[in-house]
């Protein structure tokens, strides 16, 4: 049976009631793992508190940080500081320089791009080639699709269709997330997968983008963050004096 993962829940993390209701709703809808976007300076106690909330709902927690760097230097600084602290590192690519650096850096897990009317940066062919060789995934949040209508939705769907076609052609992993800030934007994984047909993402691939792909990222990063990890395929199993 598939294990569905929603890597991007965006409740106000200080409001524990809201976190609880969103995590419970996700569990009820069929998700078995959720990624909570946390602030960079969150304390270990606070993470443990959130982990308990998730445990009560029988959902696994994946800690995640959303970096919004303004320059290449800021991105590198953020990655150096935070990579070993969070299980998932996502970069919001607000400029081309940041987008290119994020796509070629192996420490970045997820790339997300701005919507808006006329975005200056978007997921183009060069970006996709870099992301494909570095193993970064493209993340598509579905909440903006539910919030807009009319011409804004037409533009958004057209952009997403182009991005999905590029990910398929250049074999960039794709992750679908809710990006939900409120409970009312949460749906069953199958319903999210059906939304994918609006931008030419076939149902089986959409299900993969909601389960195997995000789960694979979390499992890989948990291995890397474990104490015995040395390199891919190399682990310390014991020490001798």
């Amino acid at each position: 049976m598939r294990k569905f993962v929603d890597l991007h829940l965006k409740p106000s993390w200080r409001d524990l009631e809201q976190v609880k209701s969103m995590v419970n709703k996700s569990a009820e809808l069929g998700f078995r793992m959720v990624g909570l976007a946390l602030p960079e300076r969150i304390a270990v106690d606070e993470v443990n508190q959130l982990r308990n909330v998730c445990d009560d709902a029988c959902v696994e927690l994946a800690t995640r940080v959303d970096l919004v760097p303004r320059s290449r230097h800021e991105l590198l600084h953020g990655l150096r500081k935070l990579r070993r602290k969070f299980e998932i590192v996502s970069v919001f690519c607000a400029s081309k320089v940041v987008a290119r650096q994020a796509a070629k850096d192996r420490r970045v897990d997820l790339l997300s791009f701005p919507g808006g009317k006329y975005p200056r940066v978007f997921f183009d062919r060069a970006e996709a080639e870099l992301a494909s060789s570095a193993g970064a995934s493209l993340e598509i949040d579905l909440q903006p699709l539910l919030l807009v209508n009319g011409f804004a939705r037409i533009r958004l769907l057209s952009r997403l269709r182009r991005e999905v076609a590029l990910t398929r052609r250049l074999k960039v992993p794709l992750v679908l997330s809710s990006g939900a800030t409120e409970t009312r934007f949460l749906h069953k994984p199958q319903d999210f997968a059906f939304l994918g047909i609006l931008f030419n993402l076939e149902f089986p691939f959409a299900l993969e983008a909601l389960s195997e792909t995000p789960l694979g990222i979390v499992v890989r990063n948990r291995q890397k963050l474990s104490p015995g990890y040395v390199a891919p395929g190399v682990r310390v199993v014991g020490r001798q004096d």
Partner: protein, 110 residues
């Protein structure tokens, strides 16, 4: 040669604060299909309201089998009925009403 139209029955649940009428739900789904797929797409959907639930958060819709992905995408895109914020969840999909009612017996009795 006769060609039987194959249909799908969807049990849907509306997650909102206030009760609603099944006709309102049907109209909002029609509107969503028309917005996303146009009048041509809507004409292929064969959407109909089959049954209102006893409690006003559950009902059964019918559509053609070929239009099922289109209808489900449209249902997932709905965030409001009138002025009220809602989320619509598809509980089950079945090829016959009998099987659908058997599978969703607990939700229907609510």
């Amino acid at each position: 040669m006769s060609h039987r139209v194959k249909r799908r029955y969807l049990a849907v649940e509306v997650d909102g604060n206030e009760p609603f009428r099944g006709e309102e739900l049907r109209d909002v789904v029609w509107r969503a299909i028309t917005q996303l797929f146009g009048e041509y797409g809507a004409s292929q959907s064969g959407l109909a309201l089959i049954q209102n639930g006893k409690q006003k958060s559950y009902c059964i819709l019918r559509c053609s089998r070929e239009a099922l992905p289109m209808v489900r995408a449209s249902i997932a895109s709905i965030t409001e009925i009138g002025e009220q914020s809602v989320t619509i969840h598809v509980l089950r999909v079945s090829g016959t009403l009998k099987a659908l009612r058997r599978k969703t017996a607990s939700a229907e009795s609510k």
